[in-house]
Structures are given as structure tokens and as C-alpha cells.
Symmetry: C2
Subunit: 435 residues, 2 copies
Amino acid sequence: MQLNIREFSSKDASFKSELKELLSWESVSDVAVQKSVEEIVNRVRVDGDVALMELTNKFDRRSVNTASELVIEADELAQAAKRIDPALLSSLQKAANRVKIYHERQKQTSWQYEEADGTILGQQITPLDRVGVYVPGGKAAYPSSVLMNVMPAKVAGVGEIVMVVPTPDGFVNDIVLAAAHVAGVDRVITVGGAQAVAALAYGTETVPKVDKIVGPGNIYVASAKRLVFGAVGIDMIAGPSEILVVSDGLSNPDWIAMDLFSQAEHDEDAQSILISTDLGFIQKVKASMERLIDDMSRKDIIKTSLEGRGALIHVASREEAVEVANIVAAEHLELAVENPEEWLPEIRHAGAIFMGRFTPEALGDYCAGPNHVLPTSGTARFSSPLGVYDFQKRSSIIHCSHEGASELAKIASPLARGESLEAHALSAEFRIIDK
Amino acid sequence: MQLNIREFSSKDASFKSELKELLSWESVSDVAVQKSVEEIVNRVRVDGDVALMELTNKFDRRSVNTASELVIEADELAQAAKRIDPALLSSLQKAANRVKIYHERQKQTSWQYEEADGTILGQQITPLDRVGVYVPGGKAAYPSSVLMNVMPAKVAGVGEIVMVVPTPDGFVNDIVLAAAHVAGVDRVITVGGAQAVAALAYGTETVPKVDKIVGPGNIYVASAKRLVFGAVGIDMIAGPSEILVVSDGLSNPDWIAMDLFSQAEHDEDAQSILISTDLGFIQKVKASMERLIDDMSRKDIIKTSLEGRGALIHVASREEAVEVANIVAAEHLELAVENPEEWLPEIRHAGAIFMGRFTPEALGDYCAGPNHVLPTSGTARFSSPLGVYDFQKRSSIIHCSHEGASELAKIASPLARGESLEAHALSAEFRIIDK
């Protein structure tokens, strides 16, 4: 199948503007969605379980009469794990274990130090009490997403993890429940959409109020998360997934083609970009794609995504490749090059860096260990993969000795008076020795 | 002056509901403000400097003709530092140095580990390229806020720090500029409000686009930050400042009274709460407050704040005091008790913990070392003081050996097929050895 993928070169006069246009992505801000989400969130906030049941019955075509029907307890999750293919369960367990081992390296611990006068300063680091994990339901059910969102919270030591997943028409996905069991979710509530986010943010009689909500969702879920942000914590609001593959032209072109497909198959808005210094290799990858696509079960999605948002970019040098990679600030950056570790110090922005010829993104998506929840749409410029640090919080520790307080008060007092905050000044001055 | 401060006790039947009502704070979401902010942000985004100058001339009553008039370069900041009282400059320098030393402990470094088969996993940790710091101008100018927002970014290694501060009627505060000099700000732009946030988020001909915007502001600034969140990173949107003082009744009541005042003097919405097991002591503190308030220059604000949002709470035991502290999840928690370190393991939520009788909040506000930008309104349940970690970001590192990739592919493949993502499965399977 022929593929009309945008091709351009750093030699083009319009290169920078073309690149900018390629990367532009404006998350849809739909006024009607916004209004609908506000209504839903307010209803659940005011009417609790009653509103949650009504909205769930309406949107998910269910007939729930009592809120307890929405709850799947831990022992039922264990039952689901027994029902799925044992090989799949084993893969889930292996993946969860690798994710756990990697994330344990991220766990931070409290620290403090003592100054000469006995004053102690530090930070106490504690886990969140309770976290809500949103998992999309229906056709696009991703058990790997359950593992990736829940495991960092478990490693952080979060007290209770509540998962919400919509079950349209009452269809429950056993693989998703099995993943929840493997990850150690405490309870699943079969609700979704803005109503699920509202229930987690404000609590209902059945759904406990959480401290933070994480996990992907559609525009209603994303809008609801943005709305409740502040009442609870939220993770980043994700845009479409993207990959930037940088190749030196020495990989198997079929491999690179399939790596690009693996991103494109997510959805029509997903973005796959290849950069190479080798124009001939770019053409080989294109030929591989045109040959391989015919056999792909999701070939329509792949074609739409590649033709709409994909690109093949020829650059003149390694330096230019690095420059483009830093402009893109990709969610997934694959360095399919010789000695990728030599590139690393120059890569300033990327969600995850897949190094060498044997590290396709797919391994990171499932089981390498690092998280697959990554900053999209260039937000790697200022944000990080989901991690244990997202489920820990810090409290500053300040414990002044009398001598320490006396000396600090002499610094604080003029600053407070400079800001016309007299009570601040006096509160400090009261601690000065021999004043 | 008599003070009508709310008093209640954990013995009251209505205690929990009374506490809940005391703590309730709904950030104002004003539709008119929202609409106005959207217009301002869009104008600056589309028209750049022209819109920025027009809006600044209008809102700050200025008459700027060329955008370069808005810029204060680093050498002019150094001049401002020479103009202020040398004692004040010295205090700023000492405070900045202590803040720097403390924050250096927060700096995180890249890490990686190698598995038996040669696969390398880790995280590369890098500073943000460019940060914008919003500093309120006019009457309430806080040089300490400049230090607290800029120093963590400097310690993180941020490449460029741009500060914005409105100068209504052209009034420039030398102490604020001196603080910017001491902290190491690269450039100051004299703009404020939603137009300043928009300029930092999207860039204009004169204002460079930043990666993250931090710093406090009024409702227009907060609304604009919420609006641009996603295009750039932002810090938390802060509510009014609050303190919870826990006393065992053995401190000097005047000290505790002044500590409560130091919070109340910020503004009418600030919240000061005292908890004690000693009812007699609570009455002594009240008497101190009624005696001390008459001499306070900001007594009207203090009175309004204490009578509107303050409280004196009697609890039966240390356990109850801890329970209340964890419910409040205070921005500032002062443990004015004997052996406060014994309380620490039980304190789950607080922005900063001021321990013992010699650690008033005022010392932390200016110079103890920890940051004074702290989570307000109970958000300490899920967020942390501003820190170096807010100006660093992480990229996952995955570098599979061929053998490692082969083994991981065997785990990933069934999971990918379980999610109907065939290209993911094939991309992984291509790396299996001897397949």
C-alpha cells in the first residue's frame, strides 16, 4: 500500500517552520464538553451515589439499583486473575515485578542536617494516603496501563488505591481486573467519565475521596481532571502519543518501520517521526512500511496516523539530529544508532530514551521497568515520567535551637520590616537572646 | 481591643462538622474574570509585544512606546542593589545563601543500573531550559518571594530565569530588583497580570517563551496560569496563607499570640488556628492577643482575619491534637511543644513543620533555608513545598542488550496481543534471538 508521508529536509529553507507546524497540537477545548462536565461534576458532588448511579446507568447503559453493585472487592479481582490465560497472567506478573524493581530506585526518603548551633533542617517525605486510578474501559482496555499507574503508588507506600473503570453495557474486562489484582489495587468501582472523576475528587457514600487522581481518559475525563485540580492532585493531561526515531541508517529498515507503526497504531492522532542522516535509508524504511502495512490488522489507523501526522526527516549531521530531538522534546525518543550513550549528554528533553538497535518502544510500554506514562506534546521540556515521586510528598522540617533562632531573627527582622510585616518581625524578635 | 475569635472544643458534639466548616475554602471562580483573562491571553498570544504594551499601558497606567522600555537588564538590577540600605542588602544576601545551602540538598542526579544480561535502566535528570517567575508589584512587594522562587531554579541549574513584575504608574521597587540581583535573575520585564503570564507562556518579540511559570499573583494571574497550564508548567495555584499552632501550654503566650498575628497580618482571608490541650493557656493567649493588637500597624487586617477565619481549639489529648493537625494538613504547622521530634512520625500532612518554642514561622518565611512557597488549603495532602525538584525533569533511560531485548520481548508480546496492538507485538518480536 502506498503511503503519502510528509518528507522534508533540514536543507529546506522552510525547515524550521515546517517542523513547527508538524509538531503543533492544540488540545481540543470544547465549550459544550466543558459545560457538560461542569454539570456532571456538580451533580455528583451534591448528590453523591444517587447521581453517580443515574449517570452510570445513562452513559454506560446499565441498570444499577444500589451503589454497592458498582464495587468490585479485592477477592473478586483475585478470581478474575484465575480466569485469564495463565501465560498472560504470568506476563503480567513478570512485567509488574520489573516495574516494581525499577521504581524502587525512585523512592525518596526523609533527610535532615544539623547546623553548628544545633538548628535542624530537612524534609520529611511521606506517601499519599489514598489515590484514585482512572482506567478506560470498553474496547480499548489496557491492562499495562493499570500496572504503570498503580505500581509507583504501591512502591511509594500509598495507603489505599481505588481504581475506577467504566463497564459499558456491564461488560467487565477480566484482563484489566487481573492486572488490578497483580498490581495490588484495593478496590475497583465500575464507573467512568467525568462522574468517576467527580466521585474520586469529592467522595460519595460509596466512593472514598482520594488525594490524587491519575490515569488516562477521553476528553470528558481530561476536562473533569482539569476542573477538580486543586481539590485533589492530578497527573499531567496527556495529548496523543508520539515517537521520534533517530537512525544512523545501520538498523534493519523493517525494524524501524515496525517501531514507527507501533506508535501509529495507537490512534489516528498518534505521531511517528523518523530522522536520519541517511536519505537512502529513509527510502528503505518507507519501502518497508509500504510492504509491511498490508498485513497489519490496524492498517487503517496506521495509514491515517502516518499520513496525517507522521514525517520522514533528512538531516545533514548528528548535531542537527540532536537539535531536532531537543526541539521535538518527544514522549518517546528512540536512538537507533551506534554508541547511543555518547548522545545522551546532549539530549535535554525527552520523556523516555530508547537506546540502541535492540530497544523498541514496545518493550518500555510493557515490561522493561520504566513507566509508560510519559509527558506528551513537548511537555517533556518541563515534566517527567509518572513515578514514585508523584505519590510521595514532602514537609519541610525546621527546628531552631534558641541560639539559632536568635541569629536567624536578626536576618529576618529587617526583611520583614522591609515588607511592612511588623508581626513577622516581632514574632522573630521575641526569640532574640538578650535583646 | 476585644477579639471575637471562634472557640471550640473536641468535646463538642458538632466538633468535626465545625472543623470542616472552619477549613472550607472555595477558591473564587469568577466567570467575568475568566472571560477577561481568556481575552487578554489570546490578544498577547496573537499580537505579541503590541498587545503587551497596550495592556500594560492600560492596566498599569504607563506610557510605554517601545517594548524595550519594559526590560530591565542584569546590570540595572545590580545598580538597584547598590541603592538600597546596605543592612537590608546584607540580610537579603544572608537569606539567599541559607536558602541556597538548604536547597542544594534537594538536587537530584541521574542514576542507572545494569542488569545481568547487560541491559541498562535509569533516569537522566536535567534542569529546565528557561523559567518565568511572577512577582506581584505595587504596594505588596515581597523581595523574600523573589529569593524563594528563584533560588531553587538557580540551584537546579536552569539556563535562564526571566522575572516579571508589574510597575503600576511606573513605580519600581528597588528592594525587589535588589533581591532579583542577589538571586541571580537574568532579566526583569516590568509587566504583570494575565498579560505577563501569556507573554511568558507563548513568548513575544521581547519576552522569551519559558518552560515553567512560578510565583504568586492575584485572581487574574492565577486564572491565567490555570489557562496556560499544559503549554507550560506551572506551580500550584495558592489559596490564602494559614498556620496551625499546636501548643502544650508551656510557651510564652505573647510569643504564640504574635505567631498567630504574623499569619493573620498577611490579608483578611489568612487563617490562624491555635490548638492546645490546656484551656487555661488558650485564654492566656487570647488575653495576649487582645493586649498586643492595639500596637500593631496592621491591626485592622489582623482583627478581620482572626475574627473571620481564626479559631482557638481545645483538645483532650496529644493524640487528638495530631489527628486535627492531619485533618487540617496546614501550610504552616508550628509544634510549640516539648520534644516535638517525638510528634514527627505521626504528622502525615503539612507544608512545613516549625518545631519547638524557638521556631516561629517568620524565620522560615525569610531565612531559615526551606522554601516559603508551600501547599495551602489542605493541598499538603498531595503536594510539596516548592523545591529544586520543580525545576528538574527526568527522562527514562532504557538500553537493552540483544539478549535482554529478546527476553523482554517474550513478556511484552503476549501483553501487546492481549491489548490488540499487533505492531507493538511485532516490533518486540523482531528483537527475539533465534525466533
